[in-house]
Symmetry: C2
Subunit: 211 residues, 2 copies
DNA sequence: AGCGCTTTGTAACAAATGTCACATAGTAAT
DNA sequence: ATTACTATGTGACATTTGTTACAAAGCGCT
């Protein structure tokens, strides 16, 4: 069962021997929608491989203000926790399940060992870091170059793609938290997007009409 | 001479054997202030280790708009080019010397080989990625949570620290490019900082009075 | 000193975003 | 149906940031 999912997403990524090892030492865990996987300042004892679902990665500053960094999908891992695990440092982010998800938790003792043993693991780790760096750059582009209305539309379509749904169950306030702005601003711009025919608004629900 | 500098910054980081190898295959290069080291879309044939000086890493979008990501100092390497080198992908950033600098260029063929052979190399690579991820998160914090005046002051003090100078030789226009805003805005806020007694303004020069 | 060029200062205005206050609508529970 | 609560809509206004236009200052050159 676990092996099936492991094979499904990782058999083209990892050697058979590595998959065997992962099956042996990995700890399978189910996450429910909204569940907290990693919190700010946590000291990771390993890294999570995402088998199923979606995870939201959020940054928070001292004052408790939040901003969404990016989403993880199946096949992804959290590079930031890799860092934290291997160097015994603290994790600078918060990870929250965006829907019911399944992960395999890999204990940190193996992480370095596998770097030596498996070329596929080396590639995976490097790739993960690269994907994350690029994701961060995209976030920076978004913040630096785009106006709120564009950012909002990108947020909606990105989220819909990650969740594989054209209708998002969310409130204006939640979006405002993710984008680090106020509810009123979001309501205003959503209404604008609705008038442009790109979305349709309901209570607790936003339908995306145009991608 | 090269070996001296290599030893100076890296002898506590790398094993002697690795230092020997780096000395053998590494290509030493001097960069002059303002020289372009990596451009957008470059396909890296290796990674640079910074021996001396400071390098500015900049992001550019399609429209040619720029924003500063962070600075590299001696002892740093460019994680983004590591990515690009090992995966044969393109580099999403631009790297420009902020002052006269010296680097050693490591050919990409060795990068993976060393991951297997040297634990210190593995640590270095992982650390570099982590430092860079954290740097990016700080940039995101800055963009998401800070107002222009705070960002500007942070920019000035950060740059002064990197260059180890309390007086920056720069124009308002250059700052505006780095921060992706207009010259008028920068002039306005600089004047404000001067009135608050934090800096003093001259032509082509800004003295920082308070850190 | 006079000229040409770059840099800086500033006023006036425009646009984007944030804030406050309050009305209205939807939903669940009784 | 009434009540209580949450979510959304919207006007009015404040603040921040961006834009335009132009003046003034600094500096090198002759």
């Amino acid at each position: 069962m676990i092996r099936e999912k492991l094979d499904k997403f990782y058999s083209f990524v990892f050697e058979k021997e590595l998959l065997d090892e992962i099956e042996q030492v990995g700890i399978y865990k189910k996450l429910r929608d909204g569940e907290l996987l990693v919190d700010l300042g946590d000291q990771m004892k390993g890294v999570p491989l995402l088998l199923e679902g979606a995870i939201k990665i959020v940054r928070e500053d001292k004052k408790g203000e939040e901003i969404l960094l990016y989403f993880l999908e199946k096949g992804d891992t959290c590079a930031s926790s890799f860092a934290s695990a291997i160097s015994n440092g603290k994790c600078g982010i918060r990870a929250i399940a965006e829907k019911d998800s399944e992960i395999i938790f890999l204990p940190k003792e193996k992480l370095d060992e596998w770097l030596v043993k498996y070329k596929s693991w080396r590639n995976f780790v490097i790739d993960s870091y690269n994907i994350r760096l690029n994701e961060m750059m995209e976030t920076i582009d978004t913040l630096a170059f785009m106006k709120m209305d564009e950012r909002l539309y990108k947020y909606l379509t990105d989220k819909a793609q990650i969740l594989r749904e054209t209708t998002l169950n969310t409130t204006h306030q939640d979006i405002a938290y993710d984008m680090h702005t106020s509810r009123v601003v979001i309501s205003r711009l959503l209404k604008q997007l609705e008038n442009e025919g790109k979305i349709r608004l309901y209570r607790n629900k936003i339908e995306i009409l145009e991608f």
